[in-house]
Symmetry: C2
Subunit: 233 residues, 2 copies
């Protein structure tokens, strides 16, 4: 064996990823392709890389699990590529309530706008708001003790899929996500501000090449943003 002595556990990632009050175990991430991140949907294990995908969820789990082993967190990912908020409603019983999570993190909305440009979807910001309320009403009812985190949908200016059509139309969806967080008294991850700041350091091709799906660097940025919010819940 090595003779190198390590007294206390060395810096194992984030200096502090402990949440303020949250003392549950089961953390569920919900959303679209950004959350999905190529996860193996045949698997429903907690804490394994293939079940968590290759995005911000796995990076976040890596940090939580390595830094706070004493918490015994079970991290799950049920994001599904392409989904809009109404599709979360359709699968919320099986993919959220039945899993009995102590914390639910929801990032949804980019497709609610994007698919009006690219898939002939006819939903409006009002539909997004109404559906989001339905989702949150049922969540508050069925999981009254769960901690909720809403992530702001975001885009990276300069990304290949981001045309002028996104401005200012998409900002309405971002405002609604924030409005929902206030209305339902949930935590909120201001992803757009993180990406805007990051884009002053490197271009969209570095953080989020198509402007919607983050690179590994962008996923790490998201994970850091999410953990900053987590520390406050």
């Amino acid at each position: 064996m090595t003779s190198v002595a390590v007294g206390a556990l060395p810096e194992m990632g984030f200096s502090d990823v402990k949440s303020k009050k949250f003392n549950g175990k089961r953390i569920l991430f919900q959303g679209d392709s950004i959350t999905d991140a190529g996860r193996n949907k045949e698997l429903s294990d907690a804490n394994t890389t293939s079940a968590l995908g290759a995005g911000y969820v796995a990076l976040t789990a890596a940090n939580l699990l390595s830094n706070t082993p004493e918490r015994g967190y079970e991290v799950f990912n049920k994001g599904i590529s392409g989904h809009k908020v109404f599709q979360l409603i359709d699968r919320w019983q099986a993919d959220t309530f039945d899993m009995k999570p102590d914390l639910v993190s929801i990032l949804i909305g980019v497709n609610d706008f994007w698919h009006t440009l690219s898939h002939g979807y006819t939903g409006t910001p009002e539909v997004y708001r109404d559906d989001f309320r339905k989702l949150l009403d049922s969540t508050k009812e069925k999981l009254p003790n769960a901690t909720l985190i809403i992530g702001e949908p975001f885009i990276a200016k300069g990304g290949t899929a981001i045309t002028d059509a996104w401005y200012p139309a998409f900002s309405k969806y971002q405002e609604i996500s924030k409005e929902m967080a206030k209305e339902y008294n949930t935590a909120f991850v201001p992803f757009q501000a993180y990406f805007d700041e990051a884009l002053t350091k490197a271009p969209a091709s570095y953080w989020c090449p198509d402007g919607v799906h983050p690179s590994l660097a962008g996923s790490a940025l998201m994970s850091a943003a999410w953990l900053e919010t987590f520390k406050k819940v």
Copy 2:
């Protein structure tokens, strides 16, 4: 857009992952299955999750890329599952020299011992040392300006593949890896000490279920250990 103001970039992961002197761009990870971590070997892109696998390399790249975008790092993974040090020699020209890395990180040795138990391999610690010297001699000759990091092969006590046969035989391989780091004046990552300390917090099933291949939590632990060493080079 959100009205949340973020002045300076928020804490984006490790508080400080800047290396002391290293100012190259191209970082190459070499090794066996622990480094490989299921990477897509059809791809040779830098910085993409599928090319980097789902282990400590991707987690390390995520941290480096998100925290120091100004450095323009290009992170590559050429680890191959099952490999022993002599197999690195066989592919060193194509997989290392031809890639012109500015930094080469090598983690090799667990199979040099394990395969004597399970695959009828007849190599000894002396073979491991001799082969490691050949590898490092040629690396010093062909890449005289590259920064080198040697990772200590490690095992997690209590892992399902770790029998009594590993003790104390495997420690000889660990000592040789450290000896190589001294002899060739390279940096060294004392992975065993990190795992030993982590095992006081949670069992092998949490960090490294079979004792050889780390979980996501164990991969994050490795990444933290590697970055601690990186900060010093």
